[in-house]
Symmetry: D2
Subunit: 366 residues, 4 copies
C-alpha cells in the first residue's frame, strides 16, 4: 500500500437518503490518514469521461450528512460492461466499455474504488474487481433487499416516510369512513410495506412474498365494519401479486373486448375493494417521496459508520469485500456473497409474526 | 339568550387539519361560561338521526387540538336540502329533509349551531339560518378558496406538506438529472401550488388562473438545461388547464380511434414534457396526504382562535355571521358575503409577483 | 437609477430562520433585472474590512431558502457608530467608525444597501440612511416585537419549535404527574410564550405584559389537581416579571446572608411552584433551539416574498423604507416608524382573549 | 395454563417513547388469543391500591402506538420492597409492602405480569418473580444502558431529538462564530452523546467512559479556528467527568472562600471553554425533551414487536425472561442476566471508532 492512498468513490443506482453521509465519512476518515479522495461523478460515467472527477477535501463535505441526494450524482445510464451506444447506422447497440474505465482508473493513479450502490451497482463493482480494480463495496438500498447485511441505510427513512404518510391518511380515512390504499416501494420484497404497515396500524398489508386473495382482503375490511371500525388502511407493496397471477382491470373499452390495467397495483386493489365492498375507497402512490430528502438519524449514523468502515477496509486491504451491519457493530462480507440473491421477507420473520399476532391480514389464509 | 346556552357544533366537508382544535376551543370557552356543547356527528346527519349527538365536556376535548381529522366525523353523504334517498321503486331521488333537521334541532332544545365547514357546508348552514336555526359559521378549507377571510386553517398545513414533499423530490431529481412533476390540490384555485412551488423552489408552476402553454413549459425546462441545471421540479395544481382547453392524451387503443386521458393533469404534463424534451420525467400525486394528520402550529393556533371567537359571536348574538381572519385579529363577516364567490389567485398577488421576480415560469407569456 | 444597479445586502443581529430565503429572493430577483448583488459579511463588518464582500449570483443562492443561519454571517461585535476599540493604552473605548463604512460603500460603487435585521440593526441602517447610504430595511425577529409589520419571518418557526417542545413535555408531565415549566424567548414581549402556550395547551402562561402573582399561579395548578388533572405545563417568557418586581431566590449561602438568583425566571418559577404546592416540578430553557435551523414553510415563503419586495422597493426608489407585511400582501413603511417602539402583546389581543376564554391563567386577577 | 389467561401489564420508571406501542401490541395480541389484559396504573401502585386497574380491550389501545407517554402512567414513588411510608411519629421509614402486591395479584385472579421498565423496574419485577408472580420483562430505556438486548425502544427517539437539536444549533453557532455546548441525557453511559454527536457533526464529545481533559477540549476547538472553522458544537453527556474528578466552578462568593457549581456539567464545560479560549460560548440542556412525545418509526415498530413477543413468551411459559433484540429478530434472555450490569460504551465500539476516524475529539489523548 502506498503511503498516500488515492481513493476513488462513486454512488450508483437509485437515490437513497444517507449517500452524502457515506461520502462525508469517507473523506474525513481518509483526510485523517493523509490520504486523498476523488469523487467520480454519475456512477461509472466519470471514469468514461475523465473530466468528471473532483478532488474531495473536508471543506467540500463537512456537514453534508443530512442532505438528501448525492453530491456525486448517480445514474441510470447503464452498465459500462454493456453500455447502450449509438452506432454509425443510428442503431443502439450494447458495447463493453469496461476496459476504458479500467485504463482511466490506472492512468489517474487511483489505488482503489469505494463503490456505494445497490445490487446492480455492486454487481458491476464486483466485475471491475475481477478486472483488477481494488474495490470496497458499501451497500445502499431503500428496499432492504440486499443479502449480506442485516439492514442498510435508506430503509429506515423510507419506512419512516411511509409510516408518516399512513398516519396522515388515518385521520382522513376515519373522518370520512373510507378505505385508503397506499402503494409503497420495495421492488420484489415486502419490507417497506410490512414495516410501515405494522407501524402505521394498517388493517391489511399485501406483499410479494404472500400472494393475496382479494376476497380475503375484503372480508377483513368488512369484519372491521361489523366491529364499528368503519375505515381501513391497506398498504400494498409495489411488487404484490394476487393469487394465481395478475389482476386485470377492465378499462373503458367496449365490453369484453379490451382490458387495460389502469395505474399500479395499489389503484387496482382500491378499485377492487370499492367494487366488492361498496366502501368509498381511494388510493395513493407514495413513489419517490420515499427515496428523497434527509435521512433519519438512524440512517445518517449508519451511513457515517459505513463510510468510516470502508476506509478501515481499505487500510486492511480487504478488497472485494462489502461493508455490512452485524449489530451492534459493522463488519464486512465478500461482495459475491451479497450480490447473488435478493432478500425477501422470510415466513418466520419476527415482524411478520407480530403483524399476524396483532390482527393484520395479508389477504391469505392464516 | 338563555342563561345556560345549549350549543350544537358540527364539522362538514373534506377533512382539514385544525378541525379538532376548533372543537376544543369551542368546548373549553363554553365551559368557562357554564354553557353546554353538543357534538353533531357526521355533518348534518346527526340531526337526521338524533342518536348521533354527544355531550362534549372539557375531558373529552382537552389536548385534541393536535390530532388530525375530526372527532365528530364529517361526511360527503349529501345536503339535507337535497338528500339522495332511494324510493320504493329502488330509484334514487333527491328529497328535501331540511325540515326534519330543524325540528330535531328545536326538539333537542338547542339554542344555536356552530357550523365548521367549507363553502358547501357553509352554504347549507346559511340555508338553515334562513330557516330559523341561529348559525355561526367557522370557515375551513385547505384550498384557501374561501372569500371573506384572509386565510383559514388547513391551508398552511397543506402548503407545508406539499413543500416538504417538493424538498424531498429535489434531491432525487438532482441526483438523477430528472424532471419531477408534482400534482397538488386546490380545486379551482392555485393557492397551494403557488405557495408550495415558490417555497420549494419549483422551476414551473401551473395554476388554474393562468392557462398554460406546453411549449413554454418545456422551453423553461430546457433553458435550465443550458445553464447547467439538469433537473427541474414542476408543480401542477389539480385544476390547472392548458391554453385552449383540455390536453388529451393518447391511450393504448387502436391508432387514432381512441383517446383516453390516463391519470390526472400532473401525469399528462409529465408525459408531455418527456415527449417534447426527452428528459427522464416522473410524476407524483400528493393527494390526501395534504389534508390529513396534525396541523402546523400556525393552523392549530388559528383554529383555536376561531373556536373561541365563535363562542364570542354566540355571546354577541351575531348569528348568520362567519368567523374571519383580519390580521392580526379575528373578526366576523356575514355568511352570505363569504359563500358566494370562490377566491382565486389575483393577478396582482404579491406571491405571484414574487414567483415571477425570482424566475419561476407559469407556462404563459410574461 | 443606473442601468445596472449594484446592490449590497447584509444580515445583522441574532440568527433567525428565513435569513437565507431573503438572500435567495434578493439575488434571484436582481438577476432577473440584470442587476448585481454583493453580500457584506458579518453585518457591517464587511464594510469596515472591505475584503469581506462576495459577489452573489444565482448559483450561490439557489435552494438555500431552507437552510438555517445566514450564508453572510451576522455579528454581535457592535455598532459602527460606537464601536468598541482598544486604544494604545489597552483600554476599550467606543469610537464612531461610520464614516469609514460610508466611504467604503461609495468607493465600491455600491448603489444601495438592503439591511436585514431586527430593531438594533434597522436603527443602524436608518442612521446610515441619514448619512447618505440609500437603504431598504427588511425586518427580522423571532420575537415578533417589531412595529410596522403584522409579523415577520422567524417568529412562526420559533413558536412552532416551542409548541413541539411543549407537546413532548406533555406526555412526560402526564405520565409522571409532574409540573413542567418551560422558559421561552421573546425579550420584553410575550408573543412566543403566548402563542406557543395557547397552541400547546399550557395551564399557565407568564408574559412580561402581565406581572404575575405566584400565589395565583399555584392556585391554578392546584385547581387542576382537584379536577383530576395531576400535571401541568407552565410557559414562561424570559422577560416575565412577578408583581412588585423581581423574585429573589435564596441560594446556598448562610441563612439570610446571601441571596443568589440561580438560573433564569423559568427555574425560579419552578422552584417556587415546587415549594408552594409540593408537586414534583422540573424546568427547561429552550434557548437557542428556537432560533436555529430550517424555517417553517410559512417563514420561508414570507422571507422569499420580503426579499423580492426589497428589490421592488429598490426599483421604486423607496429608500429609507422597510418591507412590511399587511396581509395578504406585503407593503412598506418608513424605517423610522418601525424602529422606535417595541411591540408588546396588547391587552385586547385576540390570542390573549382566546387564552383566557379557554381557561389559561396568566397568574393575575381576571 | 388456563384457557383464558388474565394478563397484567404495568409501565415503570422514566417516560420513554414507545411505551404505548408495547401496550397496544400486548392487548391486540392477547385479544387474538381470547385472553384478557388488565392495566396496572402507576407502576406497582395499582397493585397496592387495587382500585387502580383497568380492563384493556382493543378499542382502548388501537392506534395509541404513536402517542408519547404511557396510558398507564408510571411513577417514581418508590419500590414496593422498600416503600417510603410515614409512621405515626411522622417520620418516613422504608417498609416492605411486597406481600400486599403479591396477595392482590392473586386475589384478582391474574395469571402473569408483563413488566415494562428500565433496570430499576426490571429488578423489582425479578424480585416479584422470585416471590411467585410469573413475570415477563420488556426492556425500556432511552439511555441504552441495559444489558441483554442490543438496543431497546426509546433510544432511537432520544438520539434523533438530540441530533435535530444539534442541527438547529449548528446554524446559529456558524452565523455567530460561537461555541455551543449541548448537555444530553444518558445517566452513566455515553450512548446518546456519542450517537447524536457523530450524527450531528460535533467537534468534541464528552462521555462518562472517557474522562476528559479540558485543555485538550480547548485545543481541539482552537485547532478548528486555525482551519477557518470559527464555530463548534460540543456534546456533553450528563454523566461526563473530567480527568481526576469534578470540575469546580468558582461562584460569586468572596474570592477563594466559596466554590459553587452552577448548573450541570454542560454549563461548567461552557464556562471553562469561554474562559480558556475567549470564544463566545453558550450552553443548553436538552433535558426532558429527549424522553417525551411520539416515538420514531424505528422505536414504534420495535416496541410493537416487543409487545407481541411478550405475549408469545407468556404462551411459551418463559416466565422470568425478558424480551430482547437480537437483530434481525427478537429473542429473550433471563431477567437476571439483564439487570445486573449497566451497559457502557465499550472502547472497541464501532461508533466510537467512527467518531475518532472522522476527527471528533473526546478530550483525551488518542
Amino acid at each position: 500500500m502506498s503511503d498516500r492512498m488515492r481513493i476513488a468513490i462513486n454512488t450508483g443506482g437509485g437515490d437513497a437518503p444517507g449517500l452524502n453521509a457515506v461520502i462525508e465519512a469517507v473523506v474525513l476518515s481518509a483526510y485523517n490518514k493523509n490520504w486523498e479522495v476523488y469523487g467520480i461523478k454519475q456512477g461509472y460515467h466519470g471514469l468514461l469521461d475523465t473530466e468528471d472527477i473532483i478532488r474531495l477535501d473536508p471543506n467540500k463535505v463537512r456537514n453534508i450528512s443530512n442532505l438528501g441526494g448525492t453530491i456525486l450524482g448517480t445514474t441510470n445510464k447503464g452498465n459500462p460492461f454493456e453500455m447502450p451506444v449509438e452506432n454509425i447506422a443510428g442503431e443502439v447497440e450494447k458495447r463493453d466499455l469496461s476496459d476504458r474505465v479500467v485504463q482511466n482508473f490506472h492512468r489517474l493513479g487511483l489505488d482503489c474504488l469505494i463503490a456505494v450502490g445497490g445490487d446492480g451497482s455492486l454487481k458491476i463493482a464486483h466485475d471491475f474487481h475481477k478486472k483488477g480494480i481494488p474495490v470496497i463495496g458499501v451497500p445502499k438500498t431503500i428496499d432492504n433487499d440486499l443479502s449480506g447485511t442485516v439492514v442498510t441505510f435508506g430503509f429506515d427513512t423510507a419506512v419512516s416516510i411511509a409510516t408518516e404518510a399512513i398516519d396522515r391518511l388515518h385521520s382522513t380515512a376515519k373522518s370520512h369512513d373510507r378505505v385508503l390504499v397506499v402503494e409503497v416501494m420495495g421492488r420484489n420484497a415486502g419490507w417497506i410495506a410490512l414495516n410501515s404497515g405494522v407501524s402505521g396500524g394498517a388493517k391489511v398489508i399485501l406483499i410479494p412474498e404472500i400472494p393475496f386473495d382479494m376476497d380475503l382482503v375484503c372480508e377483513k375490511i368488512m369484519e372491521g365494519e361489523v366491529m364499528g371500525e368503519r375505515y381501513a388502511i391497506v398498504v400494498v407493496a409495489e411488487g404484490a401479486v394476487p393469487l394465481g397471477g395478475r389482476i386485470v382491470h377492465k378499462g373503458s373499452g367496449e365490453a369484453g373486448r379490451q382490458e387495460v390495467v389502469l395505474g399500479g397495483i395499489g389503484e387496482v386493489v382500491a378499485q377492487s375493494i370499492a367494487a366488492k365492498t361498496g366502501k368509498d375507497t381511494r388510493s395513493l402512490v407514495l413513489g419517490h417521496l420515499q427515496r428523497g430528502g434527509s435521512p433519519t438519524t438512524f440512517d445518517r449514523l449508519l451511513a457515517l459508520r459505513f463510510g468510516a468502515m470502508a476506509i478501515r477496509l481499505v487500510e486492511e486491504g480487504k478488497f472485494g469485500h462489502m461493508v455490512a451491519l452485524a449489530p451492534p457493530n459493522v463488519s464486512s462480507v465478500p461482495l459475491e456473497d451479497a450480490i447473488g440473491t435478493s432478500k425477501q421477507v422470510p415466513m418466520d420473520s419476527d415482524t411478520l409474526r407480530t403483524a399476524k399476532d396483532i390482527g393484520i391480514s395479508f389477504g391469505a389464509p392464516e
